[in-house]
Symmetry: C2
Subunit: 97 residues, 2 copies
C-alpha cells in the first residue's frame, strides 16, 4: 500500500471552493483503480495549505493508471482553478503504524 501525499497551496480566499471541489471529486478517486481511500488535511499554521493523502494499492495505480485517465482531467476540473502553485506530490511506504 502506497500513500500519495499532495501538498496543495490554494489562492487566497479560495479555501472554501477548494474544499468543495475535493468533496465533489471524492467519487472520482473512489472509483479509480487501486484507490483505497483519501483524506484532506488543512494546515493550522498555514491555512491556505492542504495535504491530500490518498492510499493506492500500487505506485502505478496513481502515476500511470490515474494520471493517464480521463478522470484525472475531471479531478483537475474540480480543483485546478484553486491552486496557487503546482501541487508538490510525493509517495510513501508505511514503515510503522
Amino acid at each position: 500500500m502506497i500513500t500519495e501525499i499532495a501538498q496543495i497551496d490554494v489562492k487566497p480566499g479560495m479555501e472554501a471552493d477548494f474544499e468543495a471541489g475535493v468533496r465533489q471529486a471524492k467519487p472520482i478517486f473512489m472509483r479509480a483503480k487501486g484507490c483505497k481511500g483519501l483524506a484532506l488535511h488543512r494546515s493550522i499554521e498555514k491555512p491556505a495549505r492542504y495535504r491530500l493523502m490518498i492510499q493506492w494499492e500500487t505506485l502505478e495505480n496513481h502515476t500511470v493508471d490515474f494520471r493517464g485517465s480521463d478522470d484525472f482531467k475531471a479531478w483537475r476540473a474540480c480543483v485546478g482553478h484553486c491552486f496557487a502553485t503546482p501541487p508538490e506530490v510525493e509517495h510513501t511506504n508505511t514503515v510503522l503504524s
Copy 2:
C-alpha cells in the same frame, strides 16, 4: 483531533537507525497525554525523507504538554542523532476523510 506532520530528513546511511529509534520511541508517544496514534511513512522519491504523523486530541497536547515533558527529551535521545536538519513540523485539521 489534530494531526502533527513532521517531515524528517535523516543523514545518509542512518535510515535503519532512525526507523529503529522510532520503533523504540513508540511507547513514549502512546503514553503521552492526548496522543491517539502515530504512523511513520518513508518517501519513495526521497528515501532519506520520512513523515511522522501523530494524532493528538488537541494542539496543546503536542506543543505544550509533550514538548514540555521529559519524554520529549527521551524521544529526541532515540532519534535526534539521525536528523540531517531540524524536522519541519506542521499541524493539521482533517477536513474530509
